[in-house]
């Protein structure tokens, strides 16, 4: 499996965020996207997930089932946590598992893996920002998908939470997965890096 971006150009609101971006990420590798605020890190992730269309260029995920949109092979965790405050943690996660096709760890195992065991029956509106983030990360392992697209995955996580994330990512990479993460903080995983400049050149 290989993630390939060729000549990618992204225009948002009439402004060119970056142009002619080329990169390749092989199976088992991670790519960190860095750059100042507004450089287009989040937009790049949304492009890769298929949530936005590029103004020019091509994105391909080699080795995924042909005819399937790339997004179906990808987990996308944006800066929002996609959790419903009215539902309990376990209900939120069970929904994600059923929606995304399941096939991974059980809800209880995933909650334990991200350090939320004991909080399964607590409504998510009671959660702190860090706990919500942990719940979002639990989604990654209840339904395995080869490509992880993560926007600031460790925001609001404490030191132990960051270790947990690093362990999850390392395990994913060891299994031949791909991680693309936009971040300002070091993620404690070995990775190639691509820097988006405010001026647009990569």
């Amino acid at each position: 499996m290989r993630l390939i971006a060729e000549n990618l150009t992204c225009v948002r609101g009439g402004r060119t965020l970056f142009r002619n971006l080329d990169f390749e990420v092989a199976a088992g590798r991670a790519l960190l996207v860095t750059g100042p605020n507004g450089a287009g890190k989040s937009s790049l992730l949304r492009l890769l997930a298929g949530l936005l269309r590029p103004a020019a260029g091509r994105i391909a995920l080699e080795g995924s089932e042909p005819g399937q949109p790339a997004g179906v092979s990808a987990h996308f965790i944006g800066h929002l946590d996609a959790a419903k405050g009215a539902l309990r943690a376990a209900e939120n996660l069970a929904f994600m598992q059923a929606l995304l096709g399941g096939g991974g760890r059980t809800v209880a195992e995933a909650l334990r893996a991200v350090g939320l065991d004991g909080l399964a029956e607590v409504p998510v509106r009671m959660f702190s920002a860090g706990q919500r983030r942990r719940l979002a990360l639990a989604r990654l392992i209840v339904a395995p998908r080869p490509l992880w697209l993560l926007d600031e995955p460790t925001t609001a996580l404490d030191a132990e939470g960051q270790e947990t994330f690093a362990a999850l990512a390392a395990k994913h990479l060891a299994g031949g997965g791909i991680v693309v993460a936009a971040t300002h903080a070091p993620l404690k995983i070995s990775a190639q890096e691509i820097r988006l400049g405010a001026g647009g050149a990569a």
Partner: protein, 223 residues
Amino acid sequence: MIAALRAVFVRDLMIAFRVGGGAGIGVVFFLALVTVIPFAIGPDLPLLARIGPAVLWIGALLASLLGLDRIFSADHDDGSLDVLLLAPVPLELIAAAKGAAHWVATGLPLVIAAPLLGLLLGLEPRMLGAIALTLLLGTPALTFFGLVGAALAVALPRGGLLVAVLILPLTIPVLIFGVAATVGAAGGPVPFDMPLRLVGALSLATFVIGPVAAAAAIRQIRD
């Protein structure tokens, strides 16, 4: 795929019944509207009975417009719409599942409440059954037309009023045939079954048009 759609349906229902405002607000509005009308019109039972079906239908129509704008925009606001878009299920079917959940949470309570409120308006027993039946067939059309407006609300933060104004004209045929069928049940100028079938046909058509148009609108807006 069925499991994913069931998950969407069940989740939306749980949220609607757990967040107090969701399911109850439409019925309370319906109740408020129908109970104040006899006070405004005065103790003229024959008049109330004559306008009763129209009052009940107008109440149900307006009540079902409440909360429409949150169907998709709530998911947009907390990021879950992104996940729904990446699910291995067509967005059209997800929209349909969300519409079905919204109808069960907001439309079905109106159908159940309508005959009881009909008693307040002095409707004949035969009309009470007719109003429940026409609403049962007609309110799904209101919700599924509403899906289109709900999708547009994703691009219009706090566009609830605008959504209602956009959807209202589309729902007028449902209102016309719904009231005609109810009046026909008590021996009005038109027979009961013809407008009833049209109401049913409108609902069936919106089951297709609503989710497809809503999904198209969401894809367009979010790009």
